[in-house]
Symmetry: C2
Subunit: 330 residues, 2 copies
Amino acid sequence: MAHDIRIVTETELRQAVGLNPKTVDVIEQAFRVLAGGGVVMPPIMSMDLHMVNADVDVKTAYLPGFDGFAVKMSTGFFDNPTLGLPSLNGLMVLFSATTGQVRAVLLDNGYLTDLRTAAAGAVAARHLAPRGVETAGVIGTGVQARLQIEAAYLERKFRRVLVWGRDAGRAQLCADDLAATLGVEAQVVENPADLVRASQLVVTTTAAKKPLIEADWLHPGLHITAMGSDTSGKNEIAAEALALADLYVADSAAQCRVLGELRSAVAAGLWRDRPVAELGQVILGQAPGRQGEQDITITDLTGTGAQDTAIATYANEAVTRHQAGTVISV
Amino acid sequence: MAHDIRIVTETELRQAVGLNPKTVDVIEQAFRVLAGGGVVMPPIMSMDLHMVNADVDVKTAYLPGFDGFAVKMSTGFFDNPTLGLPSLNGLMVLFSATTGQVRAVLLDNGYLTDLRTAAAGAVAARHLAPRGVETAGVIGTGVQARLQIEAAYLERKFRRVLVWGRDAGRAQLCADDLAATLGVEAQVVENPADLVRASQLVVTTTAAKKPLIEADWLHPGLHITAMGSDTSGKNEIAAEALALADLYVADSAAQCRVLGELRSAVAAGLWRDRPVAELGQVILGQAPGRQGEQDITITDLTGTGAQDTAIATYANEAVTRHQAGTVISV
């Protein structure tokens, strides 16, 4: 019995799916399901290809209630810029969750990952940031710095955004882009301490291996979303800050213990047997969230296969509705 | 910089790539490289979806000297026949080993796996079967039963083939097919003992969970290739037979300890600290092979990501040469 497979390029995906409240709802639903049980999410499959300065990651997850599941392949070949090519490439394959047949091949080169990562930031802001956010701050100046602030703005209409990065020129470009996109005041600050102290919502988006945020910069009424750490070598927030916060929330407790900010706190002996709440549990009311405007909250996002399955399913619906891509009958 | 991605269906792949000496050479080369070092092959990623009677496997491997690497996704949804669909589906994605860009999406539904598995059987026969094979035997009656015997015939021109399966009707169909394809005498036998005793080359191709071949059926001048076991619950050959053979050879020692016939022998306490030779080491002369016509040899094939990368690279060359498939510029 013949069936159709839709092949969709990055350009076609960008036309059909963007960062908006609907996308955030889809990713929120992934967190809900992740906390609700029945999700099958194996550990990430990785190849460290140091001989060619590259790495390859494969993620997948089966989510009850979703009619598809995705396998995501991400490649990072870090000498590519010398060939005039981007370092990061990859795709998602969407399978039917009922028959295992291939439904779609989404040649997104990481676009859908950028989107679901930003949307997860919005979900964190929706459920954990204080209601009143005047100033948002972002540490880092890349694609996710921009997307995370756009995502946060979907949930909290701040008046001003502060940007800090190691390269002041790139920080200025990022601030200019955000001012243009969101129509808010955007300023570069000289150090991350000033940024954290002046903000009610901070997002860290770097590949830092040593903490950029110190515990004594924390202040009442602050929410931090740390989305940079996704391997066991990375660390953006001091272990003491995690211990000090009123609430720490993981996207996946098991994964954050190995890959997230939590890893460093555990390694430093500052976590011990304290239980770890997951974002989905907070959404479902199974774990306490922010108790008041003055709480200090931290969300640790390492990125899950569940989000990939959710965004791939949603993207496939969107491109099918747009009749985008190339349909192959097999 | 735009580049092309070739999307190829199973039908197109079947037209471009088949089981022949060149395919066997390609898979032999994969074993050579696997033994030579520098291969990166992570453990298989699996999802057991028992709630929908299904499983999903993902394999990959990077092979030095190959210009691509494959990620293979295999799905088994065992209620599909009630919908009139095959249980097994899947595809391979071929990436450039230099840039990480997607080169090809091979929608093979397991065809390339069938091919590389059969070719591995031919490699085992090439290097380990006695020179003089009058009678070959196959245990099992499915696709691999046919392909393994065709593959063995590429290496040893036997005069007769014996077939045993639990279902005598299916065994007869398999024998008829083999007689027609190879032009040899083909007979169904009543029990596996008779088959093993009368054959110089035996291939086991079942999903058995209890041994089908007993140790006291072994005889001088016998080679067995066991290709059925690929998960930790399967077992085709008695542990005592492995211990008794003059030579046992794994496709991957690490994998056979967990997924192959070797697992049961180790669990039975019949292997202890005996070293395990790999097929690639035998090919390279790094480990002793068959020492004479009277030796008893066993090869344990669990299937490796290295074979997938090799067959995907080769298939992509073939379909490119045939200008087969749909080319998408991204």
